[in-house]
Symmetry: none
Subunit: 215 residues, 4 copies
DNA sequence: TATGAATGAGACTTCATTCAT
DNA sequence: AATGAATGAAGTCTCATTCAT
């Protein structure tokens, strides 16, 4: 009873433990997928007993959903979208692509985990999968709005096509980088991707001159 | 009905049993991924006891590598590439895209399983992952040759860029369809992809008019 | 009967459970050897589920090493070596033999298990085997010191010979009793052994009359 | 139909296969004991399929009994007992010890396997254990006769004591060598053993001068 | 806020053995 | 004289989870 602060030993308890568990779980889930992530492995990596994990999370499914959620927040924080509307539409398009590319290099867990979950088709869908798909759907809607703003008058079906193609390219380039590592220059690839998508959208817009379409 | 006793069960038949096991394993692995594929589940689906699976395959890893191998062969058989050189280069390019799209709709197991494995990063890599990456590398090399033939004089770095972008798009579009199902018209998306890739390659080639490149 | 509820089962008690497991394992290992000791059999005999055994021991090898360790301690506790230096050297020698004989009758597990393990030559040596050999080497060294004290001036090579012969006799007599049961009077045999070893050592010592050595 | 010998391909069939199986089984049983000797391991080491082993042997127990039997014969063939009665009784005694020592160095399988089996106490005794104990009992009886011939008039109880001690020493010294390898000079140890046993027997005989027995 | 201990279910794999050829 | 294939039982061990403290 010498100092002023009353019994505050071991510092930050609950919150810090929760973070340690999530940190461990992200790593292991990234390595081994949903089924491959065992509570015992998470426990071993974070140093807390398995029963403590169940104090913080209802069950394994809950833990992995939390992992997805937190990795989404981390990714969102890493996503530094260009602020004001400067430059030509194409330039802004390319800048968005650059921001996404950078975020995927710096915070790849969200997409990696999400795609892993998305590829599986098990009868009882993990909650984490639903979280990923829902978050992704939000992003998709927002992107649709962007395109609609950029190219008003574009047919809704064409908007969906462009957005689907844009997202597919992003996923695919990310995969490429996951597979081949630094051999893939994600920034350069995303710039190319942004240009191609932009042009494709432009050409679909009413009044566009289809000069390249066919020779 | 003298000579046709209807498939007397239990009559040892190695080849057929192996197929039955692989059939069951492809289905389950497609649903649940590598770890999620339990020998018991495969045994239940194919009707052979678990111990019989070990007569045909050394262990689970060996089984799943065989699954990848066979699903690759199945996919290759489903891939009906356009034969002779008819039409313009762009038309041929688009035709290849159409063939790939169709093969991925009809025989999606190879890419689905492969991408699942490719996304994982476990310390001791499953053999199936290595098989997938190796097969994919072969395809990549062949595609590089195609591009080089089509556009001689293209800078090697540009060839790699184009090929990476082409594969990324294929993977990404496939993913999109896996996630959203029939809402994605793979044929249409692949035609768009083929056109964009072709144009991009064309524009990189020496002597092309770089009118869109930078403002 | 208010304060004595009779050993409420299921009340987690690590120490006691560990003992129960070891008790069961010693019995079964004594009957059936290393490979013959199945976790299921231990589980059945101690009443704890197999998975609980793995809470207390890393794996089967770890369990059997612990069995060896504990049976050594049990044997050591049963080994009531004569305390002070009373009587002639021969008498003291014989008294040690008697103590060892008694300990082997009362606590035979250590040597039985140890010899079982020692006889095997498997490529990856069980840890229990190493524990046995190491403990035995300590005993051997201590016995060497005893001989050196008793018969100073004895050639080191002769000391080793005497000690090897003494241990061999102990092992062999124990084996004889394991095989023929009570038909072997271990006490009498160890007395004979003690006398013979003592005489042999005496005769090797410098200054002894080598009348029998060689004709 | 060109040569004289009619279809004799692959040479020596049944007999040779049986030998190959036994050769493999001796090795594996020496390494891993009774339970540790799996049919699959024997099959792998001898190159014949497991089902072929069952053509030659009724079951695993039968195989291991045959292993014991054959290793006994091998040992007996290696045991080159001194022929005629030359030299003093002690010299003959020592010569027998030397022959036994040599046989155990050259053909150790029989005793190694036998002692492994003898130490176990499983409810349903393996047939190999019975074979070993029976063969050993024959040897014991023959040794009793030798002692009775050598020292007529020796009390039957003393004869049994001497024989038990002699066998125990042999077993123990063999064990020592199994454990410590070439560090144990089995020939020298057996000579010492022979001398000590001989003297002990001599001293028990009626009319002997008990000068060392008790102080 | 945690955790030591326990537990049934189920994972992968090997076992000894049989059977039809 | 042999063997490819099959099989139920059993092996070791891990799983997700719970519970009393």
């Amino acid at each position: 009873m010498t100092g002023t602060r009353p019994t505050r030993r071991k510092r930050a308890n609950g919150v810090e433990s929760r973070q340690r568990i999530l940190d461990a779980a992200v790593q292991i889930a990234s390595e081994r997928g949903y089924e491959g992530t065992s509570i015992a492995a998470v426990s071993a990596r974070c140093g807390l007993p398995a029963s403590s994990i169940y104090w913080h999370f209802k069950d394994k499914d809950d833990l992995l959903a939390a992992v997805i959620e937190r990795s989404f927040e981390t990714w969102l924080a890493a996503l530094d979208l260009p602020g004001e509307e400067t430059g030509t539409p194409l330039q802004r398009f390319v800048a968005v692509g650059a921001a996404v590319a950078a975020s995927l290099v710096n915070a790849p867990d969200f997409l990696r985990l999400g795609l892993m979950l998305a590829l599986e088709r098990r009868p009882e869908e993990p909650r984490g999968r639903a979280v990923f798909l829902q978050v992704r759907e939000v992003a998709r809607q927002r992107f649709i709005e962007v395109i609609e703003t950029l190219l008003p008058g574009l047919d809704p079906a064409d908007v969906r096509t462009v957005v689907t193609y844009a997202l597919a390219g992003a996923d695919g380039l990310f995969l490429q980088r996951e597979i081949h590592g630094d051999a893939v220059d994600l920034a350069a690839m995303f710039e190319l991707h942004a240009r191609l998508v932009y042009e494709a959208a432009l050409r679909m817009a009413p009044g566009a001159s289809h000069d390249h379409a066919k020779p």
